[in-house]
């Protein structure tokens, strides 16, 4: 896998949070590209290659998906469910990245086969460290099948 550009998909409706995540991946040794989608519907359109993403060259498969739960239009859980129901998308690790640490949210995420669940930390250092670690683990240490 070295030398191969790793694509991260970020589904986040809050542009500030999106900017924070993107910046956290700056200078990351592995995660080289990030595609940002600001609502659940857009994310599904991209992944299922419909709407304005019908051209596969315009919608390469991500190696990791960072998914917020509270999203406009289509809820994060709906997106997660759609991903895990699709044989093509199921192997992609989905990391739920949210502000909520509610038990129900955690349980629902895992019931819908989330691969990991992390809560956005309040604080710059922690946020940067979390993103570095997530990238290292899921794109470095973790072996996922090619899609």
């Amino acid at each position: 896998m070295p030398n191969e550009p790793m694509l991260v998909m970020l589904v986040e409706d809050n542009p500030d949070h999106a900017e924070l995540v993107v910046r956290s991946f700056d200078n990351h040794p592995i995660a080289s590209r990030i595609v940002l989608l600001s609502d659940g519907e857009a994310a599904l359109d991209y992944l299922l290659r419909r709407g304005k993403y019908t051209d596969p060259s315009q919608s390469p498969r991500p190696h990791m998906i960072l998914l917020d739960l509270r999203l406009p239009r289509v809820d994060g859980l709906e997106v997660l469910k759609a991903i895990k129901e699709s044989a093509a998308l199921r192997p992609i690790p989905v990391i739920v990245l949210t502000t909520s640490d509610a038990d129900n949210d955690v349980m629902q995420a895992y019931l819908h086969y989330a691969n990991s669940y992390v809560v956005k930390p309040v604080g710059y250092d922690q946020l940067v460290k979390l993103m570095q670690d997530l990238g290292s683990f899921w794109l470095g240490w973790n072996i996922a099948p090619r899609v």
Binding site: D13, N14, D16, H17, E19, L20, R23, S38, D39, R70, P72, R73, T99, S100, A102, K120, P121, V122, G123, Y124, D125, L127, V128
Partner: protein
Amino acid sequence: MKRPRGSLALRLTIWFLFLSFLPLAVLSTFVRDDAAAAFADLVKHYQQDEADLLADHIALLGDQVPLQSLLLDRHTAQQATFVIDGSGHYLARSDAGQVAGSIGNDFSKEVVQQILAGGSGSLIEQETGRIIGYANLPNQKATLIVVANPAVVAAPLSKIENSALLLLAVSLILVSIAGGGAIWVVVGRPLRQLTRIAEQISRGNWEIEANPADMNNELAVLAGTFNQMTRQFRTLIQGLEQNIAELTLAHAALRESEERFRNIVQSMPIGIHLFQQSSDGNVTLIAFNPAADRVLRGDQGRYIGKSLAQVMPPFLDANRLDKFRATAESGEAWQSEHVMLAGHQIVSAVVTDVFQVAPGKVMATYQDITERKRAEAEREKLIAELEAKNAELERFTYTVSHDLKSPLITIRGFIGYLEQDALNSNADRLKSDVKRISDATSKMRQLLDDLLELSRIGRLMNPPQEVSLYELAREAVELVAGQIVQRGVQVEIDPQLPVVYGDHARLIEVLQNLIDNAVKFMGDQPEPKIVIESQVKNGETVFSVRDNGIGIEPRYHLKVFGLFDKLDVQSAGTGIGLALVKRIIEVHGGRIWVESDGPGKGSAFCFTLPLKSSLLPSTGV
């Protein structure tokens, strides 16, 4: 017991005396008559002797002494003498009577005939009782008559009679004493004892007993039998008395128990029907209690004797008739519950229990559970409300924590980058990052303000008043006139909008939000239009704010009312508008929902409001 007059002993004595008196009386009569006859014979004999003696005397003296003087010599007060010739004419007489007459003048015919027959003899004159002796004077053709005065025999006769009477009296006295005493001893005393005992027994003294030793013979046996009988009676009576006492107690207990049960049945709040099945299978009402009138709402007296189908409360259908009959026959008990509704209101609720109390007798009890059912319904409603409130509160807490945390993450994150920006002397990014932080704090403040506003709705309500929704809609349109004019929206308000009851200021807020929303999501509609109207659906008035804007997909119809939920990230506002509207409507006791056929089809926000004063008590968030 009526006591008989006279005693048996006394009567026995009287009869004994009477029967013993008869022979004595007869005996004494005969004795007296015999004695009198013998005495008369004796007197006649004497008189004849007297006559014979005198005749001899006269014959001796004959011719020497005149006859008359001779007779006179012999004359006494007790005795007179006469001499008559053969034809009855007196020749001489000692008394002072006429010599010239004949004896026919002084004596009875029988006496005259016997004397004139001749010879000598004697007789007693029937009529006078004079004793007459006569004899022939042998030398003369004459007859001598000697007449004795009856008084001569009277004294001795009466003496004889007196003796006879005395004898009779003495005999009677002796017989009375002896016989009466014997009867008294042998029969009277034991009889009296038995009588006394019988009297005592008749007065209820069963303890007394006869003493057979005081008697002998048959009476002793009678007394013994009597005693045995009284003993048996005593035992019998004691047994009977005990039985009666027990029966009386049992009867009293039964009556008391019956009284108690009657009171319970009469005063119990459960209505009762008692049915009886006759031999032809007919089931009729035979009894009920006052509670039945109350529970079944009507006088049950008119159903007495009526058949089951007529008596049956209206809530029991034909099916139940068969079950009733089955219970009368098989004794199978059953229960059913009936709730009568008028709309959603419980009018009444009754639990019916049917069971067999005896073969052919069926009891139905009716328990009024209206209050219980109402309470249950009320409780369920409250629980549902509470659960809804709870869920809402949970969602609210969740939303609040999530949405407040979100700007916090932004602020803290970009503060970290500020340092980097400064170190890198990246002034542009520094400026933009500061703006991000500033915007996030504004957002936060806005969220807090909205939350405060939302929490106020429950607490800070103006007193409800009658509000014309038409006027309200016009005022609301005035408030958002700027946007409406800017977007060129046509607004139609139905002048028939009714008067509602509520908080004027809050209801304006509702309409203002809905109109504002409609304008905001008009999309690229060339002829934007908003219609505010009302119509009656299922008995309630539904108000609606309808637009021909972008519309809402059915799956978002619930989500639009969520706190801080926005379908369009780009749209202005925090997403509290519809949550606020929903809250205000609900505090008024109404409901709100959205109707839309989907994107591009426009949407209608519908809500209900109380038309009269039926506001729910205000509740805080």
